[in-house]
Symmetry: C2
Subunit: 289 residues, 2 copies
């Protein structure tokens, strides 16, 4: 049971967390967010997520009204108050209650806790992607805009695909609505689009881990390279590493999840465990609120 | 003073109109809307706006939980209750309170009244547009996504421009964030982009009125045509017809508002007056709520 949310620095009952309809997130889709998991009470890779959140804000000329340290303190206090060992935290920064319905006003800042998301996929089987010609609007910024991804859900289901792959001009692979995309070429080169994508925090960890075992390339990836790939996989905060076995009509490799994705998944789990051990060692007693 | 809003078919005090933060408009920018004016208590061109609202919903696979007639009745009741002669009405249809934070749920429907917007421009002087290479994400749908337009407000101000002009691939003029764009060529041809734009209701009226006096062309418009144009103008619900005197570095015609825009503005005012007269004749006594 999650009892509390934090709105503009104040704890409020989670069921009452609301925004007036004049908020620019509601009427103009003008908001940025981020989302991360916590385990054993510790946010995973919090510094990376806060860096990205502040960077998204900066790129849209929005100001986060807290320092990173102050924001981190509020996040830890919320987790402490809700008393759960693990779960997800969503940060939101909105354009605020705009008097003219367009010009940003004092932003609203939300910290919302949710249960740990249930896995809805079988990682051993891998997933099938429907390609869609699309480039996210401001790819480097984690805006709240998921209109294209959500509006394609009925088509995904009808055609038997599990998720999307956005391909710029039908040629250059970019990302999915909520995941980064990787190919494995020759069984030893790990390749992912380097620009015009959201720079995922899990993507960053996987690139770091992959660099210890394989050749890593961040560069433009052409859709025709899928046919040559041995493996493909997604990375995301919720999914970690998830094998992709089909892209459009093209079966990837032998159509089964492969050894590189499996290895990187094991490496990632070990990396998370090491991170948690380090956090536990460093942890100060949390301030009582 | 506006006292009431309508949320999901119920009148609520306007100051309390809010959405829980799990609504997909807040966390995923998944919502469509529309906006129109009313004068003498009569919504202007309501059928056109409702048609577009329902069409936007359909294109995103959302269902409006009311018939058009029922929706129109609620709009008129809200106007009646608020007791103002003129103003603006915003309709919103959101993705609802999604249990998983992504999949659309039962939609929330909002009818929000606002005062008649103040004019912030001098139509006699005309406005200057900053070009921006951009194509709206799903141009035919009036989503709430205005991230690009809003994020460019500081740059507009810094560079001394009044508004934006979105140009696909830097070549093909499409529209502005909140207005359609027209050129006048040879003083007698009225030209506007025919596809990949939001089909504005005022755009439709102006095309109809222009067809009585000039040659009208709906087709792709290249950015190089601005240099040949005698005049340019915006159309929008709030602005009506607004002369444009500069696009990027290019001065349009002699840099002053011109006779075609002025004529069409007069025609539009007369058209609105005729519409209101017709509505007054047809008006039935409003149902008491």
């Amino acid at each position: 049971m999650i009892n509390y949310s934090n709105i503009n620095g104040h704890l409020v009952p989670a069921g009452e967390a609301s925004l007036k309809v004049s908020d620019l997130s509601v009427i103009r889709g003008f908001a940025i967010f981020d989302f991360f998991l916590f385990r054993q009470g510790h946010p995973l890779f919090l510094d990376d997520y806060l860096d990205r959140f502040y960077r998204s804000a900066e790129l849209l000329h929005m100001a986060v009204p807290f320092s990173k340290a102050g924001f981190a303190r509020q996040i830890l206090q919320l987790i402490e108050h809700n008393g759960q060992e693990e779960g997800g935290i969503r940060l939101l920064l909105t354009g605020g209650y705009s008097p003219d319905g367009y010009t940003p006003a004092e932003p609203n800042v939300l910290i919302l806790q949710s249960p740990l998301p249930a896995k809805t996929w079988q990682s051993s089987q891998g997933i099938k992607l429907m390609t869609h010609t699309f480039l996210r609007e401001i790819p480097e910024v984690k805006t709240t805009n998921y209109v294209t991804g959500i509006s394609l859900l009925p088509e995904l289901q009808r055609r038997g695909f599990d998720d999307l792959l956005f391909v710029e001009n039908g040629e250059w692979i970019r990302e999915s609505a909520r995941s980064n995309f990787f190919l494995v070429l020759d069984g030893q080169r790990v390749v992912t689009p380097g620009t015009k994508v959201l720079l995922g925090v899990t993507r960053k960890q996987i690139l770091h881990l992959a660099g210890k075992r394989y050749q890593v390339e961040e560069r433009d990836v052409h859709i025709s390279e899928v046919a040559e790939a041995r493996e493909a996989f997604f990375t995301s905060t919720i999914k970690g590493v998830l094998p992709v076995v089909q892209v459009g009509d093209q079966v990837v490799g032998d159509g089964k999840s492969g050894p590189v994705a499996a290895q990187l998944y094991r490496d990632f789990i070990a990396h998370v465990e090491a991170y948690l051990e380090e956090q536990s060692r460093k942890a100060q007693p949390l301030m009582e609120v």
